[in-house]
């Protein structure tokens, strides 16, 4: 078998197993969509000041929950899923089989990205159908670049954070503790318009807010240009590089039991 067909095979089996696991399917897939519905119900019709004018808050929540979906599928799902695979000895088993390590890794990463794209498509379509939020057109290239960079950044960070996970049972706690607080201060759950400057400055250290803001811009109806948030994208790229470096240097195929 060629390496590419091995990747596709891996992807297909990973997908089969994913949907059979109720916990994984619920927290990765249903959760973000629940947030989309709830936040829009609660706050969607309020007015919100954004660069260029005033919109209803749904225009904030569609890209914000889109970003949340990518983070959940790539960072949370990949880190927890791979930690369980590591402790169950699945990674070690793969290591002893004649499949190149990268085909296995690419298969797992591709599945996370596939979930992210699927969620993003559902969120964007729901925005257009139910919440009167336009699908990006003039900013479509910026949207695609932001989405791709976001997926890559949070996959890299998901694999990097595995270094800090002592065993699979601890993985949901560690992964959520590292990401949930950031979501509250990073224009994901709540618009940060009235937040103190120091809090926004703190949030700006991490990649979550940069991703969310870049995503907002690509959905901004007043955006006259191409909508590339160069600085935000560069910060994300830096985090991606750091994540990849840590992941490559510290990744372990051995169970930590």
């Amino acid at each position: 078998m060629t390496s590419l067909s091995l990747v596709l095979k891996q992807l297909r089996y990973q997908n089969t197993a994913f949907w059979r696991n109720p916990v994984a399917a619920f927290f990765t897939f249903v959760f973000p969509l629940m947030f989309l519905v709830m936040f829009n119900l609660l706050f969607g019709s309020r007015d919100l000041e954004i660069p260029g004018g005033t919109v209803n808050t749904s225009t904030f929540y569609v890209p914000a929950i889109g970003a949340l979906s990518v983070i959940t599928a790539c960072y949370t799902n990949l880190a927890i899923g791979m930690s369980f695979s590591r402790d169950e000895g699945i990674l070690k088993r793969i290591r002893g089989a004649p499949i190149p390590a990268w085909s296995f890794m690419v298969g797992r990463i591709a599945h996370a990205v596939f979930l992210a794209l699927l969620l993003m498509a559902i969120v964007t379509a729901s925005g257009a159908i139910f919440y009167n939020v336009d699908v990006p057109t003039g900013t479509l290239p910026a949207f695609i670049v932001t989405l791709a960079l976001g997926g890559a950044t949070f996959c890299a960070l998901g694999l990097a954070v595995m270094k800090a996970i002592p065993n699979a049972e601890a993985s949901p706690a560690i992964v959520n503790a590292s990401i949930l607080p950031l979501m509250f201060i990073s224009d994901i759950f709540i618009p940060m318009n009235d937040a103190p400057g120091w809090l926004t400055a703190f949030a700006n250290i991490f990649p979550v807010r940069h991703f969310s803001v870049a995503m907002q811009t690509s959905f901004n109806p007043f955006e006259g240009g191409l909508g590339f948030e160069t600085v935000h994208l560069l910060v994300m790229a830096a985090w991606m590089a750091a994540g990849m470096l840590i992941a490559i240097r510290t990744f372990s195929w051995e169970p930590r039991r």
């Binding site: 078998m1 091995l6 095979k9 891996q10 089996y13 089969t16 197993a17 994913f18 059979r20 696991n21 695979s85 169950e88 000895g89 699945i90 070690k92 088993r93 290591r95 002893g96 089989a97 004649p98 499949i99 190149p100 051995e254 169970p255 039991r257």
Partner: protein, 313 residues
């Protein structure tokens, strides 16, 4: 210490002066091994003896500290795909995806190999035909172990590593596993087995090496190893203790129920003395038995000696 059969070609596994250090701890302290084609070789030893470390170096899961290791002509430390295509590994510390079915799992792994066995044949070989559509997470412990074996053999390997293949099995499942290992041997496979069970090594292995404290302390066929202890045990039962035992024979400590035993390097003259004495005194030696020590006796003796040496160091 290895015996060479002369006619066979290059060994499947050849190890010389293998050492493995974990920080200050020397887990493997210079071992030599030669395993020939179509041989079932058992590596025995107590926990912490270095068996798993040794086998994992041969499988390419761990790096060696020093020494020469060759598996099917490859250096396993080089992570070579060609080598992995020709070996099968069944470890205790590996697993498979819990939300795939038995047949999906075997099918997925068969794709990794250039010349896999038909999935149906593998299912039959390990006796999981009825569980083919069962999710891995719903299998019993023994069934999951058989699935481990299935994944290990699906690539039709020349060399199979089996790490404690029957731990946790009930007696009938063990017999089944033994039968399967014999079948694999009859198909021309070479098998390196680690086990805690002496009877397993005695039943399956062509040759056995006993590892204690990171060293191989004995190696040979099971019967050679049993003879290595060199002593024969004579046991009998006798009532009426007032009779004095024959002169010149040294008995082990007296057992309950009038059982006597003695160990000797010269069973024929010893028996002669004993039986002559019995006939002259008109005594019937009930339950008279002459036995060789089992592999287990040898193992226990070597493991104890090794442990004592370890403490002295």
């Amino acid at each position: 210490m290895t015996q060479s059969s002369g006619t066979t070609s290059t060994p499947v596994i050849e190890v010389q002066g293998l050492h493995k250090l974990y920080g200050q701890l020397e887990a493997v302290r210079g071992i030599d091994l030669q395993i020939q084609r179509n041989e079932v070789f058992a590596l025995l030893g107590p926990n912490g003896a270095g068996k798993t470390t040794t086998v994992e170096i041969l499988e390419g899961h761990r790096s060696k500290s020093s020494g020469d290791v060759s598996v099917l002509g490859y250096d396993p430390g080089k992570n070579n795909r060609k080598l992995k295509e020709r070996i099968g590994i069944v470890l205790q510390s590996t697993g498979v995806e819990r939300y795939l079915t038995v047949v999906e799992t075997i099918n997925l792994f068969s794709q990794y190999y250039p010349h896999p066995l038909p999935v149906e044949d593998v299912l039959e070989m390990v006796g999981l035909g009825e569980q083919r559509k069962t999710l891995v997470r719903r299998l019993s412990g023994g069934q999951r172990r058989r699935l481990d074996v299935a994944v290990g053999v699906v690539g039709d390997p020349e060399l199979l590593f089996l790490d404690e293949p029957t731990t946790g099995f009930d007696p009938s499942a063990r017999r089944g596993a033994w039968e399967m290992i014999r079948n694999l041997r009859s198909l021309g496979k070479t098998i390196l087995l680690t086990t805690h069970y002496m009877d397993e090594a005695e039943a399956l292995a062509d040759r056995v090496a006993i590892m204690v404290q990171g060293r191989i302390v004995a190696e040979g066929t099971p019967s050679e190893l049993a003879q290595r202890k060199g002593r024969t045990i004579i046991r009998f039962k006798m009532e009426g203790k007032e009779l004095s035992l024959p002169q010149g024979l040294e008995f082990d400590r007296e057992m309950v129920n009038g059982m006597y035993s003695l160990t000797t390097d010269t069973p024929t003259p010893t028996l002669h003395v004993l039986t002559t004495w019995a006939v002259e005194n008109g005594i019937e030696l009930e339950d008279l038995a002459v036995t060789r020590p089992s592999l287990e006796d040898v193992f226990v003796e070597l493991a104890d000696t090794g442990a004592m040496e370890g403490e002295r160091e």
